[in-house]
């Protein structure tokens, strides 16, 4: 099969926050860059982020990046790499000011500075002086404001977008470096080899492995799938964040900013139950803690509603003015998806799959780390990963609210800068026809499979299994069975059929290609979860209820063939003292 070819210095896969921040950096320095995005960039899932971006600006109250670092390390349940966390927290104020200079319409405080609100897991003076106020916001639409601002900057810089193109697989050069990607134009079905010296994966999350998720339908872990097929192991895939407040039924996100502004959770008795679980931080404890507490309340028969299957988020005491000014989007969503106006009535909420802490292992420059057969680590030449698909790891076992938008811009920028440093030293990669053929395999499999089941049932079965066996609480027995079921589904998927093989804007074809990627995410999640015999952060086991620092301060790695390996957590920050693990209470 002969396909056309185009050439760039750098190709970025994904037009969300991290991809566009990387693109800006490369574009403005005159290197040729193409951004491949399966949706028009402003439709990327960054748009759904609500509450804000965390950085120690100190606009509302005294603050310090070092305190932010402490909170993030503690929030990660000591699975985060402290060098990367230091780098992110220190860079925080600068990247937020940059966004402001780009025009992001932040809300303002009375002095005209960027408005900040309290978020979960934030403290002053290393946990000693109560709640910090650290999350910069544009009302409750910060992700929308951020994504549009970054897109606008790329319009200004005339970045080349391949909008509504889908990346199928990475291409390796004869030396083993990454040398571009095979992509398909969704509109006309044309295949193209986009050759480049470096590829930056910025493909976002993969929450579609769960039945109930705040994630968009496009969040299918395409970068995870492509990397696994290149032999790269995924790191810490057992760590999935369940956001405490998804709207019961639809799973639509309700920002933690609601609790930051003073909202709180109630059980069926009207009790503010978080006071029992987290006496100090209460409703602003870390997300894993709040989600577990809610699940326990529901389990103990204290849930609300006819089926006692949710709790309430109460906001009415904040008053109509504050809700309209600070949480207007939440009010709209609550009225649309729960049929309640939070000015008068509490919102029914339930912990919902929200964020993948794990992903493609990278260093703090975004370079992807590969593990050789002898277990040694090396940098995979020509490949970077940024944003949710990457595991730097700054979130460890549990991400703090507002740290994900920060992650996008800090590491999007860092990767861009690193690419610029390196790009002149990289010669044009040599690619063999076999390498290109490899990149077409998956496309051809879907094209050629004729007699089998349609694929969409496999997706919904996968989502059920992940929801039931790999949710907020996990046990070995169910996970073992769950993994076996997932492995069977994986086999069925290889034989499944694409019912519509037309060329023009065939969204079924894209869904089929996405499902291959989701399956990689689901299997690595299942295997990593099964293998980690402790409870840490978001990974909460009923058969191993305690954190086991002696054996488990290490990153899980899971390969495409289900093999598990481990690598050290970097406990050594860049310039400050390390934060040794202590018991995590809020």
């Amino acid at each position: 099969m002969k396909i056309n070819e185009r050439s760039y210095d750098a190709v970025i896969i994904g037009g969300g926050g991290s991809g566009m921040r990387t693109a800006m950096e490369i574009s403005k320095n005159g290197k040729s860059v193409a951004v491949i995005s399966k949706v028009f960039p402003t439709r990327s899932h960054t748009v759904s982020a609500q509450g804000g971006i965390t950085a120690a600006l100190g606009n509302m109250d005294e603050d310090n990046w070092h305190w932010h670092m402490y909170d993030t390390v503690k929030g990660s349940d000591y699975l985060g790499d402290q060098d990367a966390i230091e780098y992110m927290c220190k860079a925080g104020p600068e990247v937020v000011y940059e966004l402001e200079h780009m025009g992001l319409p932040f809300s303002r405080n009375d002095q005209g500075k960027i408005y900040q609100r309290p978020f979960g897991g934030q403290s002053k003076n290393f946990g000693k002086q109560g709640q910090a106020t650290r999350t910069s916001a544009a009302a409750d639409r910060t992700g929308h404001a951020l994504l549009h601002t970054l897109y606008q900057q790329n319009v200004k810089l005339k970045t080349q977008f391949y909008s509504e193109w889908f990346a199928i697989d990475l291409i390796k050069s004869v030396t083993g470096s990454i040398a571009g990607v095979i992509a398909i134009c969704i509109e006309i079905g044309e295949l193209l080899y986009i050759r480049s010296k470096v590829v930056i994966l910025a493909t976002g999350g993969a929450g579609q492995i769960y039945k109930s998720t705040t994630n968009a339908l496009i969040n299918s872990g395409d970068g995870i799938g492509m990397s696994l097929r290149m032999g790269i192991p995924m790191q810490d895939m057992e760590m999935w964040q369940f956001h405490p407040t998804g709207i019961a039924g639809s799973g639509v996100l309700v920002t933690e900013g609601c609790r930051g502004e003073g909202g709180y959770l109630l059980n069926v008795n009207g009790e503010r139950f978080m006071e029992r679980y987290a006496p100090n931080a209460k409703d602003l404890a870390s997300r894993d803690v709040v989600a577990r507490s809610m699940s326990l309340e529901i389990r103990n028969g204290l849930g609300c509603g006819r089926n006692k299957d949710h709790v309430f988020l109460k906001l009415d005491h904040l008053g109509s003015d504050l809700i309209k000014q600070r949480l207007p989007g939440i009010r709209d969503l609550a009225m649309t998806f729960a049929g309640v106006d939070p000015i008068k009535t509490p919102i029914p909420v339930i912990p919902t799959c929200h964020y993948m802490m794990g992903g493609i292992p990278t260093n703090r420059f975004g370079q992807v780390i590969s593990i050789q057969n002898n277990g040694n680590e090396s940098i995979l030449e020509g490949l970077y990963a940024v944003g949710e698909c990457a595991c730097v790891s700054v979130h460890g076992a549990n991400r703090l609210g507002g740290n994900s938008l920060l992650d996008l811009v800090v590491f999007g920028r860092a990767a861009g800068l690193h690419v610029l440093e390196e790009i002149n030293n990289i010669s044009n990669p040599v690619v063999s026809p076999e390498d290109i053929e490899y990149g077409l395999n998956r496309y051809l499999r879907w094209e050629n499979n004729k007699n089998g089941e349609a694929f969409h049932n496999i997706k919904s079965e996968m989502q059920d299994i992940m929801q039931n066996d790999f949710g907020v609480f996990r046990t070995g027995k169910f996970m073992e069975e769950g993994f076996k079921k997932i492995a069977k589904l994986r086999d069925r998927l290889k034989e499944a059929v694409l019912p519509d093989k037309s060329k023009i804007f065939n969204t079924s074809r894209i869904e089929a290609l996405e499902l291959d990627n989701l399956m990689g995410v689901a299997t690595t999640t299942a295997m990593s979860a099964l293998s980690r015999t402790e409870s840490r952060g978001a990974h909460s086991r009923e058969d191993y209820t305690e954190r086991d620092d002696k054996n488990w301060i290490k990153h899980s790695l899971c390969f495409e063939d289900d093999k598990i390996a481990y690598r050290e957590v970097n406990m050594q920050p860049l310039t400050v003292e390390k934060f040794p693990p202590i018991k995590r209470t809020y």
Binding site: T42, S48, Y97, P105, K113, K156, S250, T336, I504, S508
Partner: protein, 216 residues
């Protein structure tokens, strides 16, 4: 036109988008439409629902008649089924130069902006580029190449009214012809259909009076 018959009890979800996904999965895999966030923020699934543009993901099925007629957004070239070609729509958006322009040196921290100045952006910055407004606008149907359309003009207003932007005169001059903005006839279809409750007609009026006051 193609007919599908469905029973809402057979699938979970209560929105029109859930019904379309059900049809695609169970009845007709070839039915194509754009969709992503499912909560009215990404702007992918704009379509014409019983004669009025809206987003399928935030249109409850129980707000619709038993017989629902769905068409692609009007006034735009159709690629397939409910998917239209938005190239010209995006071109007009870019014509608004939708990025902050400020010629002063960049300060060490944020540029200050009072809450009052910032509130002028409310009702403008929230646009999700779903194209419901522009594709409902008769002036745009007539002159899609020359009239920027309500979505792009809303963006113009968003930057003209931003106290941090100092390119207002250039922006106004850029629209000072008989088509770019002045083709707006205040028909207000844009206001009627905007799923985010925004008011492009008002924004256009605002720029229009600024332009006239500046005596171009």
């Amino acid at each position: 036109m193609q007919d599908y018959e469905i029973n809402p009890d057979n699938f979970s979800g209560v929105m029109l988008l859930d019904a379309l996904i059900y049809i695609k999965n169970e009845q007709d895999a070839s039915l194509c439409f754009r969709r992503s966030c499912g909560e009215g923020v990404c702007g992918s699934d704009g379509m014409n629902i019983n004669g009025k543009n809206g987003l399928a993901c935030i249109t409850p099925l129980n707000s619709l008649s038993n017989h629902v007629t769905i068409r692609p957004l009007p006034g735009m070239p159709i690629i397939r089924d409910l998917i239209v070609d938005l190239t010209n729509f995006y071109k007009q958006y870019e014509k608004a130069k939708p990025f902050l322009q400020n010629s002063k040196p960049i300060p060490a921290k944020e540029r200050l902006q009072s809450p009052k100045s910032r509130s002028k952006l409310d009702g403008l910055y929230e646009c999700i580029l779903c194209a419901c407004c522009t594709s409902s606008c008769p002036s745009y149907w007539w002159n899609p190449e020359k009239f920027m359309g309500p979505a792009a003009l809303l963006q113009s207003a968003r930057f003209i009214l931003d106290s941090r932007d100092d390119s207002t005169l250039n922006r106004l001059e850029n629209m000072n012809d008989s088509y770019s903005m002045f083709r707006c006839r205040s028909i207000m279809n844009c206001v009627d259909v905007c799923p985010k409750g925004l008011n492009p007609t008002q924004a256009i009026g605002n720029i229009r009076s600024k332009l006239i006051k500046n005596n171009f």
